[in-house]
């Protein structure tokens, strides 16, 4: 019985090793959008948007999701905060969703600056970057109501 308890404890220690994912605050990221029809939203709703829940905004603009690519310095924090997952977990999630034909692929960009510039010029886009970036135009920022 003692052996079984040890094995079970070890098992949960191993699989629980990455349980920190998803516990990072939304304050660690900045959400930016262009003509999404809202300037603030709840954390839950924002996460749903980035999981591909919506095809269109209330403005009838098409939802275009912009995410940091795997080599971006923001990739890990975004994967953790928005998806509660790892960077490869997020890639797998989108590969699978697009393959199912249930969503258009997101735009993956290599740096926060590229994401800001893309969102700035693309109507209907919503992006996420690490917080604290000084170059984000104020009119793009979507505040998060906790």
């Amino acid at each position: 019985m003692k052996k079984i308890t040890i094995i079970i404890t070890l098992l949960f220690t191993i699989i629980g090793g990455d349980s920190l994912y998803g516990q990072v605050s939304m304050n660690a990221v900045t959400i930016i959008g262009n003509k999404t029809g809202f300037s603030s939203n709840s954390a839950k709703e924002i996460k749903q948007v980035f999981r591909g829940k919506y095809a269109n905004w209330s403005t009838r603009e098409q939802v275009i999701i912009v995410l940091p690519a795997s080599k971006s310095s923001s990739a890990e924090i975004v994967a953790s905060v928005i998806y509660g997952n790892t960077v490869s977990g997020v890639q797998k999630y989108w590969l699978s969703l697009v393959f199912q034909g249930r969503s258009n692929p997101p735009v993956f960009l290599d740096s926060d600056e590229e994401i800001i510039n893309y969102v700035k010029r693309t109507s209907g886009s919503i992006g996420v970057i690490s917080s604290g970036n000084q170059k984000v135009p104020g009119n793009l920022i979507i505040s998060i109501n906790n």
Partner: protein, 355 residues
């Protein structure tokens, strides 16, 4: 409404959107796999196997219309080159309102989680191969029109209604007078859980199996005279999936009935169960149990009992490359009358990749 009027309305809808067209954005992907099999039944045999290679294209034609295609090249002994291509999915999707779409073309019939999610991408398969029922009971494809809704409300409710060519048809014609009908619903109460149910109906006036009824030869286990009369075919499916960072569960329950005037109602069922324990993001040891029982009075699939138990291990090098190793035991009973049982024990290693 006359067919010509419907065509005119559809044409107007499409034309309106193409006038506003933007530059299409197209994404190409490919998926393939390579296997090594070691079979201990009837004297060990071992061989490498080049699996099907899947070319996937997804193109956004404008804000409302997209195209999806899946083209597979797979081994076929009757081909001069040993391989033959096939169109597995080819569809145009029109997003007419919020999360509601109309899809026209060749689709994977949305009867269960597996057929609606994994298609021909071995990279996404949690185990080596499809559930047993896919070779016998599940109508894999439909060519027709699909009404789809997804992520509706807080529970992320979804629906799929399909009217299309049935089991007897090909991609070019159907000699049956009717079409098949599929109704499927699902919900995703959390990000990781999906629960679905579906019902499929088809009337086979000559009990023929066309190309939509499975990739394997569904009658290979049966050597008697084939029934060529009329038959009613239903398939009811229940799916449960829970894929988290730490564990994965998938259960596909399939209940099939066939009804003939001669032998009445035959009740068949199958169940596929998979459970994996994921750790350190890349490692997933798993178990798989698969079972199918076809009733003695069934005149479409014909009597058969087959079961499989396997244990395996999956390692993901990256989201686009994984390796699976599986050891499995299969048990087949082809004849209910004399209870002849075949047993197989083997192992496989599979490299699955995307590009």
């Amino acid at each position: 409404m006359k067919p010509n009027q419907i065509k005119l309305i559809l044409l107007l809808l499409l034309t309106t959107h193409f006038v506003q067209a933007q530059k299409p954005t197209t994404q190409f992907n490919g998926y393939g796999y390579l296997e090594y099999e070691l079979d201990f039944s009837g004297g060990p045999t071992s061989y490498f196997y080049l699996g099907e290679h899947d070319f996937f294209v997804n193109s956004k034609l404008n804000d409302k219309i997209s195209f999806l295609g899946e083209y597979v090249i797979r081994f076929n002994g009757s081909s001069a080159t040993s391989f033959l291509p096939s169109i597995e999915r080819s569809l145009v999707k029109y997003n007419y309102y919020k999360n509601h779409n109309i899809i026209m073309g060749k689709i994977h019939t949305p009867v269960n989680y597996w057929n609606d999610s994994y298609h021909h991408g071995r990279l996404f398969f949690p185990v080596m191969d499809r559930p047993i029922s896919f070779s016998y009971l599940v109508p894999l494809h439909t060519l027709g029109i699909q009404f789809q809704g997804q992520n509706l409300g807080d529970m992320n409710f979804g629906y799929d209604f399909v009217i299309g060519n049935g089991i007897s048809s090909t991609d070019n014609l159907s000699d049956a007078r009717n079409t098949s009908f599929t109704a499927a619903v699902h919900m995703k109460p959390t990000d990781d859980i999906r629960i679905g149910a579906s019902f499929y109906y088809d009337y086979l006036d000559k009990n023929r199996s066309g190309i939509h009824s499975g990739h394997a030869a569904p009658k290979a286990h049966y050597t008697g005279k084939l029934y060529t009369g009329a038959l009613n075919y239903t398939l009811t499916s229940l799916s449960f999936s829970n894929f988290t960072k730490n564990y994965e569960i998938l259960n596909e329950l399939t209940y099939n009935t066939t009804h003939t005037d001669s032998l009445g109602l035959a009740k068949n069922f199958a169940n596929f169960f998979y459970a994996g324990l994921r750790f350190k993001d890349k490692h997933t040891p798993y178990v798989v149990v698969d079972f199918m029982k076809i009733a003695g009075n069934d005149l479409h699939t014909y009597p058969y009992e087959v079961g499989m138990f396997g244990i395996g291990y999956k390692y993901e090098f990256s989201p686009l490359f994984n390796i699976k190793a599986q050891v499995q035991y299969d048990r087949q009973m082809k004849n209910h009358a004399n209870h002849i049982i075949n047993k197989f024990f083997g192992s496989e290693i599979q490299l699955a990749y995307g590009f």
